[in-house]
Symmetry: C2
Subunit: 252 residues, 2 copies
């Protein structure tokens, strides 16, 4: 009985409902301070533990954020819009600009924690890249930040024999990044497929992305294909769900 | 201090970590029963409250699901793949088949809780449909189920003058749905744009979609445009995040 349901909701839920309505109605708006424990205790005549539980409900729903030593605030949502097609258009990487430029209104992403290694392809990678079991892949892991905020973890896998001896195997892949290097090898990405799912973060992802409680992540798996439909890269991305809106255009 | 951090993690977190590792390694896999409170108490020499807290961590992370009166299980993930372009291709709705057929391997979605009303366009709807403030829209709300599982809440808005007197204003829109009716009016959708964000559900959404704790939702805003780029529908969808993978294809 981990989630018992009673007929009348407990007091902390009623207080949380009141605050939620104040937020939904705009009475409390983005970034506003929510009444703290002391004020809720006074206002509703409840114990500190009850007031704290009420605030925890809103925090776990992701509509409020606790700021250490300051209080609890209405979470603002002013995300980065990431446009599938525009962001990966050939004009960008073929002129040596990082593809990230398209999203961020020209503010560049910073990359950190880059690690590059070679390994046997894990089963899902072999499947995505149409490799045989035992084939080797180059794995590039990195984190993207915008200003000082971590936004995304990304792990790319490329067939090892394809990129051997190129700067794709080095931490800094040079102007235009991986896709510009693939183009130089005659393997320019021409088609992309992206699969998106959503879930709660693992403790490791929560730490690396500095996520507040109640923040889900988007998990994006992108495969880049050449115009001959050879799969040349799988990129597994974990995006801070409070930081992104993904946008896609397509025709009927 | 709602989220205090200590140097050494509390015991319930250590137990949760052990279980999480067992799940990540495949020792416990999809649908397996996780050791219950009694077994965790014995195994780790802890009180019932501690064992319960450890299980709650996994439930709130969405990697375990509590089944009332039975126990706690590893959550399986066998989602529906929703393919942007294929799903909305003209061949489907122009032949009178519901567009949902494309996703569900021919298993039809059932619709319930359909409500239709006319109203002044809310600000974000007026913006999406390029209407003036005060213009009227038809609003269609409904829920989609697959078998007995609720999967999605959807609210469509269409310019009221465009669809007045057609079966778009009736609960049952007829074969091919809204898009087939728009085509008969010479306003067939030709382009779509979708914006996706993720968040935790509201209590109302949690109830209507029967979501377990730790389940985020995807919020999809789709605008349908004619070939002259007139916006003819905004569809705001809330998807059970444990039920869907969204897929998009595009070219460089």
């Amino acid at each position: 009985m981990l989630t018992p349901e009673n007929d009348s909701p407990p007091v902390y839920r009623e207080i949380a409902d009141t605050l939620r309505i104040a937020i939904a109605s705009g009475e409390l708006s983005d970034g506003d301070r929510i009444p703290g424990e002391n004020e809720l205790m006074k206002r509703h005549g409840v114990a500190r533990a009850t007031a704290r539980q009420a605030l925890s409900v809103l925090i776990n729903e992701g509509i409020a954020v606790a700021v250490r030593g300051s209080g609890v605030y209405v979470r603002g949502f002013s995300p980065l819009v990431r446009h599938g097609r525009r962001r990966l258009s050939k004009e960008l990487w073929s002129t040596g600009r990082a593809i990230w430029g398209a999203d961020t209104a020209e503010r560049p992403f910073a990359t950190d924690s880059v690690t590059v290694s070679e390994m046997r392809a894990p089963a899902h990678v072999a499947r995505a890249l149409d490799l045989d079991e035992g084939d080797r892949v180059l794995r590039r892991r990195r984190r993207y930040r915008l200003d000082d905020r971590p936004m995304q973890l990304a792990t790319s896998y490329l067939p090892a024999e394809l990129v051997a001896g190129t700067s794709v195997t080095r931490p800094d892949t040079g102007p235009g990044g991986i896709y510009a290097r693939l183009a130089e090898l005659g393997q320019a990405p021409a088609h992309f497929t992206e699969e998106i799912r959503v879930r709660m973060p693992s403790p490791d992802e929560r730490t690396k992305l500095s996520l507040s409680p109640g923040t889900p992540v988007m998990h994006v798996m992108r495969v880049a294909l050449t115009k001959e439909h050879r799969a040349v890269e799988l990129n597994e991305m974990t995006l801070d769900g409070s930081a992104y809106v993904l946008q896609y255009d397509f025709d009927a």
